[in-house]
């Protein structure tokens, strides 16, 4: 990999959160502002067409990184560059819109990420019209139908409301919405952690198929090591706001470098442990 040509470049990303009281309380009660360091000095690169995963436990700062990657949150320090354009710098509205078009996000909770009062057709058409991907709402409608079929649903689902669908179907709708913007770079924040395993497999397979078909670049945020290993080419492990280790997926599990990574891998419940336990001394619990 040469130095300058990565699709996504993240450099020294840092963010702290203001946890101080409202200004009127500070004014009257005294006391200054207080901060919590959520993300410290995180740097990594993602190549085009690759899946890069960030894994970590709750409070590790992985979701904060995800939000900064797509510009939902601005970093205190550091930069995010996508295909040579900085998303953290000053940009005009049209430049911003052009950037937004290229990157989208899939959220954890498919029950909260779709507006419950809107029909599916309007939900998927919104980014196309807002980002001026299509010229007219008639084009948006036909494109919506195409996208719904692409994610394994039917065009007729356009007329229905989100509450009429299961969690997995809603996540498909959310994926269709991200694709509606013609995004090339999609940040997936725990896309399957609210779903059941059999549905999780459907969504993970769909994400892979779409990646191969459309050449998408993913950043996958997850707490689930098995999901991350299955999906990602490279994995970054986050702990207490820092990126402690980045390795190719298979290698990370063979030779983890950091103590925290070793502990994390060691605590994942394994299916094979049932056989190990069965063959060990304590076998028959019931007399």
């Amino acid at each position: 990999m040469s130095g300058a040509s990565h699709f996504v470049e993240v450099r020294n990303l840092s963010r702290r959160f203001d946890v101080s009281k409202p200004w009127l309380n500070r004014l009257i009660e005294g006391g200054g502002r207080r901060y919590v360091e959520a993300v410290r000095d995180v740097s990594f690169d993602v190549d085009k067409g690759e899946t890069f995963a960030l894994v970590g436990e709750s409070g590790s700062g992985k979701s904060t990184v995800a939000r900064m990657l797509v510009g939902l949150m601005s970093p205190d320090r550091g930069s995010v560059t996508i295909d040579g354009t900085s998303i953290t710098g000053e940009a005009s509205r049209s430049e911003q819109r052009a950037l937004r078009r290229r990157m989208q996000m899939i959220f954890q909770d498919p029950y909260a990420s779709l507006n419950p009062r809107w029909r599916v057709g309007r939900i998927i058409a919104e980014p196309m019209l807002a980002l001026k991907v299509v010229p007219s709402s008639a084009d948006a409608a036909s494109e919506t139908a195409r996208l719904l079929t692409l994610v394994g649903m039917s065009a007729g689902d356009m007329r229905r409301y989100p509450h009429e669908f299961s969690g997995g179907q809603r996540q498909r709708i959310a994926i269709a919405r991200a694709l509606a913007a013609r995004a090339e770079f999609i940040v997936c924040d725990e896309p399957t952690s609210a779903l059941d395993v059999s549905v999780q497999a459907q969504i993970l397979n769909l994400m892979r198929d779409l990646q191969q078909e459309l050449g998408l670049t993913y950043v996958l945020i997850s707490h689930n090591l098995a999901v991350v290993r299955h999906m990602a080419g490279r994995i970054g492990v986050m702990h207490a706001g820092r990126l402690v280790e980045v390795q190719p997926a298979r290698q990370l599990f063979v030779s983890p470098q950091h103590d925290y990574t070793r502990m994390l891998i060691g605590s994942v419940p394994q299916m094979s442990s049932a056989m190990r336990r069965a063959s060990s001394t304590r076998g028959a619990p019931c007399p």
Partner: protein
Amino acid sequence: MADPVLSVRDLRVEFPTRRDLLVGLDGVSFDIHQGEVLGFVGESGAGKSITGAAIMQQIAAPGRIAGGEIRLNGQRIDKLSRTGMERIRGRHIGMVFQDPLTSLNPLMTIGDHLTETIGVHLGLGRRAARDRAVSLLEEVGIPEPAERLRSYPHEFSGGQRQRIVIALALCAEPELVIADEPTTALDVSVQAQIIALIRRLCDTHGTAFMLITHDMGMIAETADRVAVMYAGRVVEIGRVADIVAHPAHPYTQGLIAAIPSLETDAERLRQIPGAMPSLSAIPDGCVFHPRCELADDLCRTRRPVLAGEGDHRTACHRTAQAEYAP
């Protein structure tokens, strides 16, 4: 074979609504023996939590137990009055829930929680109750238990809180503990500790555990036997090692194959098409047939019952053909 601690036969739970009658559980039967962990695994809506709630008689109205029987140490408990059930709860059956914060009163110290429960169930004096509280906390792995008695729930981490809830459930040395998704709200590293704790308590106290979870890995690590639930029915039950290695029901096979593994590589995960039916649209015949590749006319019309030799039983017409190839 000794009598089971808990014996459930043909349990049926109904939820009458304004429009129709929803059947939450249908024909659920199982036994739990002393010192055994019986895992209940299934996806959301499969009825595993309803099973736990039915045993505790905590099904939210208008839901009701409409049939079958539940026996604890041979005594029927499904027809008990409210006060009768209150005597069973805590004393004979302990409970651990997903979110430890909701099971603890934020205004009471940990010491108050424990000594109150011990006092009610065991009738010990204050000094003795306190001593027991300290030893329980020590057993579940809370450091400096005597000092921490004065702490409030919010002063503990999530994992420690779940340990305290487990200590509370064990206060009266119940014969059975029902744990509903005890580790779901916890991080992986803490999860592993709680699994180890449940295993250890089960061995040392001889307590029977009913472990409800959606996580097959958790079952594999913790349980002795497992009941796989789907749409309010037990579709397969048997020893964990048998079921993990040789799942017989097509649903169990699909469920296990759908889990990404840390040990094997797969380009694509095996997926079960569709989703579990909602309670208002339970199909006729085998409840799994609309998603099953092997379904034939018999599956579409007749309900299979749990059958098989020995421990490992499956509710499937096509079990013989449905061998799992890893």
